[in-house]
């Protein structure tokens, strides 16, 4: 009984856990992402292939992100949403980071990562008619 209680307690604690994320490197990565997305249609790059989908046919949660981010940067929000809605969020966040240079860090609930990835994966599995 005590073991079950401690397991439940640990699980609840993990859901409440937060992580402080330094924004400096995210700002750099975001800037690179926006730059690549801006240039991509001009050079005709096909984007990064997903190894999982290439090998197994099963998409991963981040499939469609290249298309989504590129479409968002080029203001084609409908195409962006259809490819992967999270791309729109990434672009908005990246733009905010570039505009708000004084933001140094942000505290994020750790649980948001698995929830977001699960949602993205369900979306992609439905997009490729697997679910």
């Amino acid at each position: 009984m005590a073991a079950v209680g401690s397991t439940v307690g640990a699980t609840v604690a993990s859901f409440r856990a937060t992580r402080v994320v330094e924004l400096r490197e995210l700002r750099v990565a975001g800037g690179l992402m926006l730059g690549a997305a801006a240039v991509r249609p001009l050079v005709g790059s096909p984007g990064l292939p997903c190894p999982l989908r290439t090998l197994t046919g099963i998409p991963c949660p981040f499939c469609g992100m290249t298309t989504s981010v590129t479409s968002t940067v080029w203001f084609d929000v409908r195409d962006a949403f259809a490819a992967n809605p999270m791309g729109i969020v990434f672009v908005v966040f990246a733009v905010l980071l570039l505009l708000r240079r004084r933001w140094e860090r942000v505290t994020v609930p750790v649980v948001i990562v698995p929830i977001a990835m699960a949602g993205m994966w369900v979306f992609e599995l439905r997009r490729f008619d697997i679910l």
């Binding site: 990565a29 690179l32 949660p61």
Partner: protein, 155 residues
């Protein structure tokens, strides 16, 4: 050495530096693979191209310096997270194989370092390594040369 390698807040190579080092190594490996495919018949050339990346990373990152040519150019190195020393070729092999997993979900394992407090990718976590600036944790220099044997000394 241990403080520089381990513990929250210790210096870590940043994303942009690791990305450029990766690109440099990618160019080197791409060149080697292309030459192999052009020089040899299809089978051997593709085998070399397939084995070159794990061999390359295992050899260089497992060396005492922990530096591939790309990492050496950018002034960063791979060290054991606990000791700050070289990870050795065994862990370097594990690390290089785990790169495949890091790349599997659209390269998320590589991007994980942006979220991770130790700036570790997935292959870093499995191998127990971190990537640090070489200026703060310099690679070991070769030791002083052995003194010449004394010709008058009788064993």
């Amino acid at each position: 050495m241990t403080d520089a390698a381990g513990g929250a807040g210790a210096a870590r190579a940043d994303f942009a530096t690791r990305l450029v080092a990766f690109v440099v190594d990618y160019v080197v490996l791409g060149t080697v693979s292309l030459v192999a495919i052009l020089l040899f018949n299809d089978g051997l050339g593709f085998l070399i191209a397939l084995l070159a990346p794990p061999a390359y990373y295992t050899w260089f990152e497992g060396s005492p310096s922990g530096q591939t040519p790309g990492k050496r150019l950018l002034g960063i190195r791979v060290v054991d997270a606990a000791t700050g020393r070289s990870i050795g070729h065994g862990h370097a092999l594990v690390r290089s194989v785990m790169r495949i997993v890091s790349a599997m979900l659209c390269w998320v394992g590589y991007l994980w370092m942006l979220w991770d407090p130790e700036r570790q990718t997935w292959h870093d976590k499995v191998a127990g390594s971190v990537v640090v600036p070489a200026t703060l944790t310099p690679p070991p220099s070769p030791g002083p040369p052995e003194p010449a044997p004394d010709p008058n000394f009788e064993r």
